[in-house]
Symmetry: C2
Subunit: 121 residues, 2 copies
């Protein structure tokens, strides 16, 4: 089950569930925030790393390669430089996910606001 694509993972309930496919794609400690970065513009690897305090190179590589396997982002490697320059940007599929990510972010913000009075009592 390791290294499997999200599209192959969503048969957990017997049938293939599109909702779980989407959730699986977003599942990973740094994926959501990486998508938030990449929806602004493309990023270099180290540049991206610097915007993610607490994220190790290992984790960044893992999350990026999973997003790449799921065709949400693409890596571009420019070998005409030494050391090599790589950059990451959203694919069409990745861009089509942006409105949903924004909707989830907005829902979460409202949820947290509404929750404060409940938590405080």
């Amino acid at each position: 089950m390791i290294g499997m694509k999200a599209s192959e993972m969503s048969r957990r309930h017997g049938e293939l569930c599109p909702l779980d496919t989407t959730l699986k794609i977003l599942d990973g400690k740094w994926k959501s925030i990486i998508l938030c970065r990449l929806m602004k513009h493309e990023f270099r690897y180290t540049e991206l790393l610097r915007t993610l305090p607490g994220c190790t190179r290992r984790m960044l590589s893992l999350q990026l390669s999973q997003l790449e396997n799921d065709r949400i982002i693409v890596k571009q490697t420019d070998t005409s430089y030494v050391p090599v320059k790589t950059s990451y940007r959203l694919t069409p599929a990745g861009r089509s996910l942006v409105p949903i990510v924004l909707a989830m972010n907005k829902w979460g913000a409202t949820y947290l606001e509404r929750l404060i009075p409940v938590e405080a009592k």
Copy 2:
């Protein structure tokens, strides 16, 4: 970190991230499908269990109690019966999540369709 509410969990990147709050609420093997069931109508515990092939009582209880802690669903207990009758339904917060769940489901379906030609080659 165990038994923590989703609202308390989303500080992983230092700042509180509403997007991660939303993802955390949906994070759990059976939560998405439970929400799919409860958006139709309320369910009894065992009735719900029968619609989730492969889900154990332990897992159903776990997922339900987490959704309850996050104020997405409410449990109603009718003690006038023996054995006790319990049922679960969406809260206002839970109902407000439905459009997003539907959007994710739709996005996932389109994603899987588009992927088939890519995977096949």
